[in-house]
Symmetry: C2
Subunit: 197 residues, 2 copies
């Protein structure tokens, strides 16, 4: 989307960390300014209002994710399963590097009071599901995945399983190894889905 200034990125990351650590209810301009060691009006030098910070941060993380996944998928893989592993590996590594992002990306409900914000979150979810559905269709066409279930149902199973793995990691206080645990779940799904087990 837009190119953000350094200060804007600082503000958006501080907002994300606050939402992650203490919930959106505590995301006030006062708290956010204090987190950054700034006065409240200083924030308004960089964003028009509080909502613009939230919309900005969703656009910021969404753009990063779209670009990164496009990158991952532009490579060539020996099999559909291999590509799917690469996609989730990239995603789970990104979450591990910036755990607080998860609290904002997986947050259909906390932005429910604003159409634009909740639409953006739904949009991010659709991007991931799109990648998975593509992968499943290709894998089924190649005879690598079982055709017992429809791509739609399989997408729900794959994405749902991975989302819950992430949620469990979050509930554990990010103490678990998300890349490893997520890989175990994905391998499990692939094992059941594969035609040559």
């Amino acid at each position: 989307m837009q190119p953000f200034t350094e200060r804007q990125i600082e503000i958006m990351e501080a907002a994300t960390q606050r939402i992650d650590a203490h919930g959106i209810q505590t995301l006030t301009i006062k708290n956010l300014a204090a987190d950054l060691g700034l006065s409240e009006p200083a924030l308004y030098r960089h964003f028009e209002n509080k909502n613009a910070i939230l919309l900005g941060l969703l656009n910021y993380f969404s753009a990063e994710m779209v670009a990164r996944l496009a990158d991952v998928r532009s490579l060539s893989y020996g099999s559909s399963a291999e590509e799917l592993r690469a996609v989730f590996d990239s995603q789970l590594r990104a979450f591990t590097a910036k755990p607080s992002v998860v609290s904002v990306i997986f947050a259909e409900n906390i932005f429910h009071y604003d159409k634009r914000l909740s639409a953006k979150v739904a949009d991010i979810m659709d991007v991931m599901q799109g990648h998975v559905t593509d992968n499943i269709k290709t894998g089924q066409a190649a005879g690598e995945y079982s055709k017992l279930l429809s791509p739609a149902t399989l997408t729900t199973i794959v994405v749902g399983s991975m989302r819950l793995a992430v949620l469990k990691w979050k509930v554990s206080g990010n103490r678990a190894n998300l890349v490893k645990d997520g890989r175990t779940v994905l391998d499990g799904v692939l094992k059941m889905l594969s035609t040559n087990n």
Copy 2:
């Protein structure tokens, strides 16, 4: 837990519906009182404070769910798969009957600002996972389910898939048929998990 008065239940259901429709950010005493056609202080005749309303509603729905699922599982079934279908059938029917409850039961993040509230939501999630893990262990022991994957991984897959099915229904504005769509996903998982396909 406690037996709630009729008025308390009215208040808790109004709060749940508001969270569902407009997000927790708009759950103020003023809005809630207006929804009920009452004055603000009237609410304090029935709950000590705003937090008690939220804690009360989580306890209220959690108790209903625990009792209902215990009931479902007290019956006897021809197979583990049949029992699992009955558990989720009951759960999805309950969600369909009271769609707003989902927004509050699936809300690890919106209660993040309060330990007691988020612990209660985590607790509710554990109850469901416990039922599923039990079922999977029994099904594996009976040779009905594949032993290729651990009960923990299979639980993540089953519960994760069903949660995403519910979330999709919610995002669709509850327009879809949750009982039917959820059943499709569960049947899909069971098909892959079953030893005699």
